[in-house]
Amino acid sequence: MNPREKIRLSNLNFFYGKKPILRDICLTVYPGEITAICGPSGSGKSTLLTVFNALWKDDEHARVHGTACLSLDGQHCNLLHPEITLETLRRRVGMVFQTPNPLPMSIQANVAFPLKLAGEKMSPQVAGQVENVLRRVHLWEEVKDRLHHDARQLSGGQQQRLCMARSLILEPDVLLLDEPTSSLDPEASQHIEALMVELKPLCTQILISHDPLQVQRIADRHHFLHQGRLVTQPH
């Protein structure tokens, strides 16, 4: 693997039960870029995304063959290794879902939740970290007076930025975004897009989108999935 590469998939096949979902995927993701994957619904985009944080392993019917390599701190990490520590991997590879999914907790508890999972208690230091990421997603000014209110009372766009902040608090190397703007109105989408561009120096982003204009606006590279096969178009 070339040191300039972040993730490399080669000859990757994904089966759900006996049904092939992805076939012969060869894909390279470069650090600090936004790599977009587009395609019609049902083409396997979301499935492909679950390869990057091994989320597919939670599903008993899913099987993956091929190679998938992630470069973390100069080390190569085989994503398909059967004994990979999922928890550690997922702390380095964050994910933002299609519909905003704040957990039923306060705003602060939501953002600090990944730290709690990693075993940290709520402390002034953690509160500071929460403030930092909320500022980074430009949500701090809007919520600083109601950090202890239910996160589900926020608007859709605010919720999605909250979810991004929640992923960012672990300072992930890679951020996976599964159509993060598809359930938002145009103004909120603009916020999220701007944010993604700002985040480019901090983490590598893989974006799933079926909006070609959005891909043109922010993606550095894009790939097209059709019926489980990848059609790459150099930018």
């Binding site: 008993e60 702390r91 994910m95 879902f97 299609q98 999914n101 957990l103």
Partner: protein, 297 residues
């Protein structure tokens, strides 16, 4: 006949059915209220004993509902204490871990368990007591503990199903979101999935309490008696409200006793419906407040 005519007839039929059901319920509750409300007083609960002495267990009450109330409370409390952790754990196993054949077989067995008539479970309890009595003579007979164990067995499938359904109906995205943040399977379960379904779990538990409180068939084989006073240990006989109602119905001697039966029925129906309404309220209105702990800044 013209389709429109049929439609009107079906509409009339459905309205009549609903009205019949409504009238039956109103009659039932109205009659209980009419016959039972005026005897609900101090004497009903404590008989001739001094309420304060009875409440502090200094004096046994023999002609009041107080021992039956205490008996039912102890019984239900004990049964739920036994059944809740097991039901929760088994429900979690079914929803989160069991796969394939194991899952099918377990599902079938729990369906079966929930379909077994309560009297059969009571008889099972009695049988266990007989066997134990043969091995350890004089130690273990029908008692409060035995009844509680049998009731626990009776409500176990309800609790398992409630937990299983609550967990299985969670939106897959919520399930994934915890995992994608690096939560282990257990962390996901305890931090996200169970809190997320707390209202359903709580109302399932409350409905199980109601089921325990109303059941008569199990306890009449496993240790309830007409007069026992307040039990001093869980290895003693006890009284319970539903059994009190049954005894009154089968062997009342005068009008006073009968009126007490009506009052007891009124109390039991209020208790069970009250528990139901509480469960309903938690599920539909308290969702947000119950889940969301207001943290002090």
């Amino acid at each position: 006949m013209k389709p429109r005519r049929i439609d009107h007839l079906v509409a009339l039929f459905s309205h009549l059915c609903a009205l019949t059901l409504l009238l039956l319920m109103v009659t039932l509750v109205g009659y209980l209220l009419y016959r039972g409300h005026h005897t609900i007083d101090r004497e009903l609960f404590f008989g001739w004993a001094d309420p304060w002495q009875a409440l502090t267990f200094q004096r046994q009450v023999f002609d009041g509902l107080f021992p039956a109330l205490i008996g039912t409370t102890l019984l239900v409390g004990l049964a739920i204490l036994i059944a809740a952790p097991i039901g929760l754990a088994a429900g979690i196993y079914l929803a989160e871990y069991a796969r394939g054949t194991t899952r099918t077989v377990l599902n079938l067995l729990f369906d079966l368990l929930s379909a077994i008539p309560s009297i059969v479970i009571g008889l099972f309890g009695l049988a266990v007591a007989i066997v134990l009595h043969r091995w350890f003579p004089g130690r273990f007979g029908p008692c409060l503990l035995l009844s509680a164990l049998c009731l626990a067995l009776l409500v176990l499938p309800y609790l398992i199903r409630a937990t299983q359904n609550a967990l299985e109906s969670i939106d897959p995205q919520i399930r994934q979101s915890g995992r994608s943040m690096g939560a282990s399977k257990l962390q996901n379960l305890f931090y996200i999935l169970l809190p997320h379904r707390l209202p359903e779990l709580t109302s399932g538990l409350i409905l199980a309490i109601g089921r325990c409180a109303e059941d008569t068939a199990v306890i009449m084989l496993t240790g309830v008696v007409a007069t026992a006073g307040v039990p001093h240990s869980i290895l003693q006989n006890y009284e319970a409200i539903p059994f009190y109602i049954y005894t009154v119905a089968s062997q009342y001697t005068d009008a006073t006793e009968l009126n007490r039966g009506f009052s007891a029925a009124l109390i039991l129906i209020t208790l069970c419906c009250g528990l139901f309404l509480l469960a309903f309220f938690i599920q539909h209105h308290l969702q947000r407040r119950l889940l969301f702990r207001q943290e002090k800044p």
